[in-house]
Structures are given as structure tokens and as C-alpha cells.
Amino acid sequence: MNSGTLVAGQVVFEQKSFWRNPGSAFFAFLFPIIFLVVFATLFKGSTAPVGNTTVPYDDYYIPALVAFGVMGACFTNIAMSLSIRRDSGVLKRFRGTPLPPWALIAGVVGSSIIVSIILVLLTTIFGIAVYSVHAPQHIDAVVATVAVGALAFCALGMAMTIVIPNADAAPAIVNAVFLPIVFISGTFFPVPSSSVLAQIAEVFPVRHFINAMFTAFDPAHQSSTGFNGTDLLVMAAWGAGAVVIASLRFRWEPNKV
């Protein structure tokens, strides 16, 4: 079989599985949109301090939510759906066919990236149209940041399945790890860099993703290129680490009780 055809078939399969499942479609897709409306309404008219300057809250919030959407579509979605499939024996069954494992993973990642791109576009357009935020200043930097972030968080989602014992535990474990980090990283409101929370968040990739996205959107024209090398590097490093761990420890079969 042609590799391209195989991967395309897997992407279509993943897309059908995603959109037809109310659970994944809701959490990964509607969640960021709901957050967008709720927080934007809540903080209407306020401003957010970023670095040495202040920007309208919506200008801070839209890039952060773009990153949040990508993380949900990649990290949360992959960690949960692969755990559920592993537990039910679906992965084991795939493993017994000639489908190469890399093609299955490519399908999962490709599908998550498609959902990510839709979310990035929707969130951005919604922000511009409804909340009058500035359009992204550096499109190339936005594309690069989404690409690095999506791949890194897909890898982290795969690695996450290693510590998830079974399907029932998946939502609890994923959210217990993800949501606190999302909060302290300043996704919903800015967390000043000098604070302890921010210092802790600096260790994890979420804050770097949001920061890189804000730099790429660049509403206050602070950056000449929109690229934040450090943030992108930290994310890439987390992603690379996750790839190594996942390739060593990823399980295709349910845990034996």
C-alpha cells in the first residue's frame, strides 16, 4: 500500500471518529469557543499588563485562547482518545493488521492538526469580528507557532497515555494535569512574570506556547518578527522529550488487571 494513501485513509477515519463523538467534539472544539465568550464578556473593557505595556484584555486573551484550542485538540484529545481505544482493544486490533504503527500515529496527529487549524481560524476571526481585536501582525510566526505547538502537544498527549491506567481514569488524570497548568500559565488572565505561579509555569510548555502566540499576534507592535525563539525552543524540547518517552513506553494493549 502507498504510504500517502494509508495516512490519508487514517486521517479521514480519525476525522469521522472525532466529529461523530459528542464527547470529543464538545471538549476539544466547543470548550475553547465557550471560554472565549464567557471570559471576553466577563472582562469586557479591561486591560491586561504584558511586559512593559498594557493591551486591551481581548488582545491578550484571543492569542491565549488560540493556543488553548490547539492544546485541547492535540494534547487532551489524543491522551483521552488513545487511552480509550487502548482500553477497549481497538489499538491491539489495529496492531494485528498490516497498518504500520507510524501510519496510525500520523493519522491521529494529522487529524488533531486539522481540528487545531479550524479552531485557530475560528477563534481569530471571532475575536476580530466580535471583540475587535487586532488581526495577527505576523502570519508566518502564527503559522510556525501553531505548527510547533501542535506537534509538541500531540507528542505530549501520546506520552500522557503512559501514566493513564485505564479509560475510566483518562478524563480525571488528563484534566488534573492539564487544567492547573493552564490556569497558572495565564491562559485566562495574565499572570505577571515576577510571580511565583509564573515561575512555576515557566517550567512547563503551556506558558511558552501562550507567550509565543502573543508575540506572533503582537497587538502592541513590540516585536519585529513575531518569533519568540526561546518559547518555541522550550516547547520543541518538551515535544522531543515526549516523543522519546512515547516511543519507548507507549502501550498498544489494555493493562492486565
Partner: protein, 296 residues
């Protein structure tokens, strides 16, 4: 030609030795029944043949390849129906069969394979709308879609109602007619008796018997049973042959059924007695199986 060779296979999980030197072979085109109680090492053996587990010792070839290293080349020629594997829930039957068709070099037509397992009317239904038995049949369809030379069926009819089981048996028979080699595990002895050309019984990690269902039934210490209903008023001690009576049914266990039957009927005719529901029963495969695995 030999499809599978297993020679001195061993496998331990920690301190537990699940498979302790199992040897057997499966000929091309036969239905090979692998029987044994839960925990006998049956599933471990099958999963080694399927390429899911690594063996500790022994030689194994499947279609001339080592299943541990056969990879894609081997999986293109082998169909698996696993004991507890689920199918992805959100696709329709046809979509899923089409997806799997794409994995194999020479798949069979989707409509044909769906019809073969009796899901023709459910072809456009989503998998999660199917009953458990229908999902299982879809699982069988996915195992056959690549037109494999060798098929592993791990307890394929568990949970089926009698008519679905009969239908599944016909599917297996048809596969055999097409020249497929089939390795079947089951807990139903009637299934093994009906489908298997040869049977291998595994208990406590070892092969305890191997042969056709007929030879297994012949080489047993179990005796033939002659049964009849005790006529009213007849006392067991009046019958000149040793028998046991339980709930009004007399049973004579004998290793010389011809002689015993003659003795019994000669005596009954002389007494002017008709023995209601008289029957002669050979030990069933189930009797033999229970005897072979009794030491568990």
C-alpha cells in the same frame, strides 16, 4: 505443507510459567482446534503465534516466518479475530470494512465480506448501534477482509445465540472450503467437534492430547454408557448387570458395549420387559476433554 510449527515453546510471566514446552503443527488447509481451560496457556500460545508476545524459548514459524519478526509481510497474510478486541464505534460497518481493506494488498470486496458474516442489512449502520453479537461478527469480517491464508479465531462465538453460532460455523466451514488454514480456540466442545479437523488440548502449559476428534474419543478411559428408564416396580438388584440408578434412569458404564447390550436385552426379552428410552452413548468430546483436563 505445514502452516504453523511450534516446537518446545516456553513462556513465563515473572515466576509463573504459562507455557512449558508446547509442540504442535498445523497443516495448510485444516481447521485446528486449540482447547484448554482458562489459564492453561492457550491464549499465551495464540498471542505468540499472532506476534503479540515474545517467546522465552522454542521454535515457532507461521507461514514460514518467525511471528516475532514477520512484521507487515506476515500480517498481510494472516487474519486475526481476537478474544476481546473492540471495533472503533463511530464508523459505519461499510466504512470500517473499507478502511481495513486499504491495509491489504488483495482485499475481498466489502459487500461480499459483509454479506458473508450476515451483516448485509446493517451495512450503513454505525458500529455503536450494533448488538454485541453483531459487533463480534463485524470483528470476524475484519479478520477476513484481507483474504488471509491463515486465520486465528479466538473464541469467535462466545456470547452468540444458537442460530448466530450455527451461522458462524457455516462461515468457518466456507473458509475451509476456500482452502484457508484456521486456528480456532473455543470452550464449546460441540463447536470443536463440528469444525475442527484436529484438536490439541493444552492443560497447565503442556499439550495433554492431540488428534482428530474421533481418535481423541477413541483413546479414552471413559466408557460407553447404556441408559434406559427403569420400568415401574423393577429393582436394580434384579438386573444381572451392574448399573447405577439416578432419578429413575439406569446407567451401565461399560468398555464392552456390544456384550453388555446383548446381556441386557437378552435378559429383558426373557423377562418380557420393554426398556423405555433405551440408548447407547459413546463418550462425548466433552467427557474426554473433562477427563484430560481434570488434574488442573
Amino acid at each position: 505443507m505445514t502452516a504453523i510449527v511450534v516446537d518446545g515453546l516456553r513462556k513465563s510471566y515473572g515466576a509463573v510459567e504459562a507455557v512449558r514446552g508446547v509442540s504442535f503443527h498445523v497443516e495448510t488447509g485444516e481447521v485446528f482446534g486449540l482447547l484448554g481451560p482458562n489459564g492453561a496457556g492457550k491464549t499465551t500460545t495464540i498471542e505468540i503465534l499472532e506476534g503479540y508476545r515474545k517467546r522465552d524459548a522454542g521454535n515457532v514459524t507461521v507461514l514460514g516466518m518467525d511471528p516475532q519478526h514477520g512484521g507487515r509481510k506476515l500480517r498481510e497474510r494472516v487474519g486475526l479475530v481476537l478474544q476481546e478486541a473492540a471495533v472503533p464505534p463511530r464508523l459505519t460497518v461499510t466504512e470500517l470494512v473499507e478502511l481495513y481493506r486499504g491495509y491489504y494488498p488483495k482485499p475481498r470486496p466489502a459487500a461480499e465480506i459483509i454479506e458473508l458474516v450476515g451483516l448485509g442489512e446493517k451495512a450503513k449502520e454505525r458500529v455503536n448501534k450494533l448488538s454485541g453479537g453483531q459487533q463480534r461478527r463485524l470483528d470476524v469480517a475484519l479478520g477476513l477482509v484481507g483474504d488471509p491464508e491463515l486465520v486465528f479465531l479466538d473464541e469467535p462465538t462466545t456470547g452468540f445465540d444458537p442460530s448466530a453460532r450455527r451461522a458462524a460455523w457455516e462461515v468457518v466451514r466456507n473458509m475451509r472450503t476456500l482452502g484457508k488454514t484456521i486456528v480456532l480456540t473455543t470452550h464449546y466442545m460441540d463447536e470443536a467437534q463440528y469444525l475442527a479437523d484436529r484438536i490439541c488440548v493444552i492443560a497447565a502449559g503442556r499439550v495433554v492430547a492431540e488428534g482428530t476428534p474421533e481418535t481423541l474419543r477413541a483413546h479414552t478411559e471413559q466408557r460407553t454408557h447404556i441408559r434406559f428408564e427403569m420400568p415401574d416396580g423393577l429393582d436394580a438388584s434384579a438386573v444381572p448387570i451392574a448399573l447405577t440408578v439416578e432419578e429413575g434412569v439406569a446407567t451401565i458404564a461399560t468398555s464392552t458395549p456390544t456384550r453388555s447390550l446383548r446381556d441386557l436385552t437378552t435378559w429383558a426379552v426373557a423377562q418380557g420387559l420393554e426398556l423405555p428410552n433405551l440408548e447407547v452413548m459413546r463418550p462425548s468430546l466433552e467427557d474426554v476433554y473433562l477427563e484430560l483436563t481434570a488434574n488442573e
